[in-house]
Symmetry: C2
Subunit: 214 residues, 2 copies
DNA sequence: GCCGAGGGTGAGCGGGCGCTTAGCGAGCCC
DNA sequence: GGGCTCGCTAAGCGCCCGCTCACCCTCGGC
């Protein structure tokens, strides 16, 4: 039922911006390895061999192992931000936009679980500078969701006690999908996205059109 | 406002069951180190020196570095399960019990963030056998929450579309607190617990007493 | 006072890590 | 077609890892 290609590592992420081809293959191998075992448990030899190259080939395209994680993290966060911004720009009121944001964000975390895992959980393995840069992107992600919730609260379409805490909770819900989602499990990314969108609308007390009414 | 002791590593967890004293100090040092840098990035030398001992001292009390993680993980999961069971056994209907379960579970994840981080996020660093044992405990945690939600759904006190998915989402919300909670941040564990209990009651569409009515 | 047991140390082992370097071969320019 | 560039490899360096071993100190029992 899922429409995105889900070859191991391929998933929903295109990685088109990474060139040349060898650099992309290495990056893809790194994503897989980091997601499976974590950054620190992954060796450069493992990454290289997954990409069908010798250990030394990695250092032609990347200065260090950390640069790989940094690149993956930045591209991933930019993709996440783009998803939320697209959803936020769709027509309709806060209810529709929040539902669209959550369901597409969840779809990305579920369908591209391999990438999302690295992006969301390996942040602390970055050095201070890279980490600070990525944290800037995360604040933008946060602001995007908070913006929608704030607007709904102001217009009275939502009923929210604490906008900041609710924003955090909504993001928690979406991000944690990358921790537990199993591609071979009973639910498709689309189903989880729809379910979670409904749960989030309940959390913000949405009364407007699109809220779960019964 | 917080009543639990929050000395670094001490937190809400007693670790009384770990004896002798040197073994407990090592375990505590390991919890701190694993939470800060992750299991694979932590060295046995770091653990030992945090505990004020030589690197070799570790191997008097533990066979391997993994045994430390295994012990931490089991004790932590047992504590988590105990918290949920206690909450589940309090008087009142599903609404009160779910609220109590969520708020106390969140308080544990926030107040004992150091421990909770290791318990919830370092599971994959365990070997197959230890991992399987811990996964058994996790299923019990899951069952505890699902039990309350199921009961509320059956009695009509809750309005839930998908019990399994909702259970997962509730646990997600609680567990993810260990990822973002900051002891120096603006909110106490108690505040987050209360906020999240309210959000969860909304998610399950609680209509009974204790639900956020307005 | 001697002994054994148990908690602890200093030194160091084998090995695998991230990363480097010297060199090789295919393709392109002139 | 000679030479330069670029992508890549084989070999290996230096380091630090998890873990071990020989030995030591302290303390209770007799």
């Amino acid at each position: 039922m899922s429409t995105v290609e889900e070859t191991a590592g391929g998933e929903a992420q295109p990685w088109d911006e990474v060139t040349p081809d060898a650099a992309r293959r290495l990056l893809l191998a790194a994503v897989e390895a980091f997601a499976e075992r974590g950054y620190h448990a992954t060796t450069t030899r493992d990454i290289a061999s997954r990409a069908g190259m010798s250990p030394a080939a990695l250092y032609i395209h990347y200065k260090t192992k950390e640069e790989l994680l940094h690149r993956i993290s930045r591209i991933g966060h930019e993709k996440a931000l783009e998803i939320l911004r697209t959803a936020s720009r769709t027509g309709g009121g806060p209810t529709e936009r929040l539902a669209e944001a959550v369901s597409s964000f969840v779809r990305w975390h579920a369908g591209g679980r391999t990438t999302a895992r690295v992006v969301q959980y390996e942040l602390d393995s970055l050095g201070p500078d890279a980490r600070a840069e990525i944290l800037g992107l995360r604040r933008k992600v946060d602001a995007e969701v908070r913006g929608i919730i704030e607007e709904g609260a102001r217009s009275g379409e939502f009923d929210v006690i604490d906008v900041h805490a609710t924003t955090l909770a909504v993001l928690s819900l979406c991000i944690d999908v990358a921790r537990w989602f199993n591609v071979d499990g009973p639910r498709t990314p689309e189903e989880v996205g729809a379910l979670y969108a409904d749960l989030v609308l309940r959390m913000v007390g949405a009364r407007g059109p699109g809220a779960a009414q019964r």
